[in-house]
């Protein structure tokens, strides 16, 4: 049985859904289509456009249509949330205050100024990644170009192939990670890749090169075709996007999850067993350049993550602890956005959603005592609540 819910849960009113839904199964369809849809409980909202979310929607769940999901989030959603989407056949994200804050800032920001950096931080399982996804959804709805790195930690650990970069002898390439990322990037930003043209000629090898003025799509395809040059393709892409966003033809959102990986340590080692610092990796190096605030016409939203981090104690969650001195200086100045555990209202909303979807099967879970027990045992932590509700 697929069980998942990490952090935020999204709900939305679906007019064609009846009240009595069968127990979740893969792709279950409601057999009884009760035409009169009683208003779904208070914790749902029908507003599926993040641009229109405001305080009145706080604590409620909105849904993302599944087709849009595939386009916007080829990668980036937490794994448990993806499982839950499959189970419930809908993607529901809770509107929470930190996300609303970022959205308000984004709406009001002046894109002639250098890009503002937002760092979302909080304890484990409080919903940082989901907040980031909410922001990404908003930006994609608004027509921005979204550069979403689902987890920067993946680039600094468990890398099977490391090659010396042809462009710069000191650096190391990661063809696998780069190609995976390029593929996902292509799915999410098809139309932009057609529109944006290169400004320089790039030579990939002895026989391959990309002329000036060609659409970026060719760069991406080059990277996908030749794995060896994938990392360089990524670098080229980032550079082009950075330069061209200043012109103002499009807005660029750089969304990085687990940004503390870029300035931490890595578990990789070179052939002579010496450790590799993240700065020596091409991908990381280019991404770091992207995260500097010397470009305009967009925003940078990042998340700190202890879960995938290397060599950091589990109690660390503040930017100071996780980024270290180097990272903090690199990201400074930034707007810190703390993400707390569920407020009582949000907890009610999440609990109500589970009940409604018949996720909580235990008869005692329906009672007030059961709710109090769940609240106590999970400590109003979204992840804990999700894991608790699983077996019930």
């Amino acid at each position: 049985m697929l069980r998942s819910l990490k952090g935020l849960v999204c709900h939305s009113l679906k007019p064609d859904r009846g009240r009595a839904l069968p127990r979740a199964g893969l792709g279950s369809v409601s057999s009884q289509d009760v035409p009169a849809e009683k208003p779904r409980a208070i914790f749902h909202t029908s507003e599926s456009d993040p641009a229109r979310h405001s305080e009145q929607h706080e604590g409620r769940l909105y849904s993302i249509p599944l087709e849009e999901l595939r386009a916007v989030f080829p990668h980036g959603l937490p794994h448990r949330f993806q499982q839950q989407i499959q189970t419930f056949n809908e993607a529901r994200v809770m509107v929470r205050r930190p996300a609303l804050e970022i959205l308000a800032c984004l709406k009001g920001s002046n894109f002639a100024h250098p890009a503002v950096r937002y760092v979302i931080y909080g304890e484990r399982g409080t919903g940082k990644t989901m907040t980031l996804c909410h922001v990404v959804h908003y930006c994609s709805r608004q027509g921005w170009l979204v550069l979403h790195v689902p987890d920067a930690h993946l680039w600094v650990k468990n890398c099977k192939e490391l090659f010396q970069s042809s462009y710069n002898k000191d650096r190391l390439d990661q063809p696998l990670q780069a190609s995976v990322w390029l593929k996902n990037f292509k799915t999410s930003n098809e139309r932009f890749l057609e529109e944006i043209k290169t400004q320089k000629k790039y030579i990939w090898g002895r026989r391959e090169s990309t002329e000036e003025g060609r659409p970026l799509r060719e760069v991406v395809e080059q990277g996908l075709a030749r794995a060896r040059s994938a990392s360089d393709a990524v670098g080229v892409l980032l550079r082009e996007l950075k330069q061209q966003s200043q012109r103002g033809s499009f807005r660029l959102l750089v969304a990085v999850d687990g940004v503390n990986a870029l300035w931490g340590r890595s578990t990789l080692s070179k052939e002579d067993k010496s450790p590799v610092s993240p700065g020596e990796l091409t991908l990381v190096h280019n991404l770091r350049k992207m995260l500097t605030n010397d470009w305009t016409g967009g925003a940078i939203v990042t998340t700190l993550s202890q879960t995938g981090s290397l060599f950091k104690p589990s109690s660390a969650y503040t930017p100071q602890e996780l980024l270290g001195k180097e990272g903090f200086d690199a990201l400074d100045p930034f707007v810190p956005i703390p993400v707390p555990n569920y407020s009582p209202r949000e907890f009610e909303s999440c609990y109500g959603y589970y009940l409604e979807r018949r996720w909580l099967q235990h008869e005692k879970a329906r009672t007030e005592d059961g709710k109090a027990e769940l609240r106590f045992l999970s400590g109003s932590n979204p992840r804990q609540l999700d894991r608790l509700a699983g077996p019930l």
């Binding site: 109090a372 106590f376 045992l377």
Partner: protein, 457 residues
Amino acid sequence: MWSRRSLVKPRINRAKPAQRMAGFRLVILNDKLQHKKFHLNMKNFFALLLAGTGVYLPEDLPKPPGSIPVFPAPGDLALAGGVDWVIPKVPSNPDNAVILSMVLGQQTLRLICTTTAVQRKNVGASGPEKYTEAFIKKQIEEFNLGKRHLANMMGEDPETFTQEDIDRAIAYLFPSGLFDKQARPLMKHPTEVFPEQRKIQWGEDGRPFHFLFYTGKQSYYSLMHETYEKFLNVQKHQDQLTAQDLPLEKEKRNLAGSRWLTKIELEEMLLEQVSDDDYSRFIQLLQKLVALPCADIEEKYIQKFSKELPVQLQKVVIEPLQHDERGVAFSTGEGKRKTARATAVVYDNGTGKITVNGIDILHYFPVLQDREQLLFPFQFLGRIGKHDMVCTVSGGGRSAQAGAIRLASAKALRSFVTEKEVEFMRQAGLLTVDPRVKERKKPGQEGARRKFTWKKR
């Protein structure tokens, strides 16, 4: 491991042959006794020995009076063979060492010690009467004398030197590492040490003293006779009163709080074997006696055979609620489990927030099981979101700490709750200390229960 905490090191007597005493073993105490009071006193009381190459007895050691008898600890290797006497110091010698003369139980002192105090017969080998009356009397005298000397040694007042003080002094002077308390050196009144025994029942001419000797159970039958005599007395008194038309006194003796002697206690009292039938007949007779209306006359006699039942355990007192400076009611409780000790302060008007050692429970107890344990008392009483709690805990592992906090919070919650609910909590097991501790590993086994792998050959 035998020399743990023992100040006494037995040494073989390497004295010159002329001075060697058969049957002696001398022991030299370290002169590292720090206890000042004791030391000062010991200066007055103990003979000296130079801790040189050999051990020798100073010439002026006729056993000075005031030697203290100490009954031996048979198994204590620190005092191998058992210490019998602590010899008071001869004033002329200024050194600081201490002699403890160890006398092997079986052999008697000869020559040097002329006082009879040190003589000890091989008591176990004598006939049916193991200890003569004279012997017991002597032992009592020596005990009393020794008690006074011990008091002097310890710097206490000899008049008010109780048995507890004696025990403490002996435990200090002869520290023993043995686990069994009864195996350690003790100094008690001889009546407690030597079991009571029947004296010889006949005189020198072979004629028994007691007239019922030839019944075989003289004490029992004499007791029955005595009791029946009292019975007849009471009946006579009753008849007298009825003859005088006086009302019979009828004060109900409270039998609820007392019980009769058990068969074993009766045997100890009579110093002879009593069969079950005889015992039941005796008890029946006593009950008949008590049933008579005027039995109060013989109350004193009856009381010899009845014992008070232990008083019912006192009820546990539940502390009332206290209030802190904000006016919020709170209450404290303590709990323990295995090696963990916890204190909990439960506040009223709370939101269900719990802090352990300054850390939120979600971080302190990442495992669900521990949080469930903490939840249990509140859930049982239906007060999950109503109280705040601040706890401190130390020792043990995660599970033990959770159990200790659970007990502490349950105890603290008693003050907030009615008596009936306290009784429910007690029946649910929330207020009981969990007695399970780690079982000891035994020698010859790999663990407490696990045996070594059995090999056929």
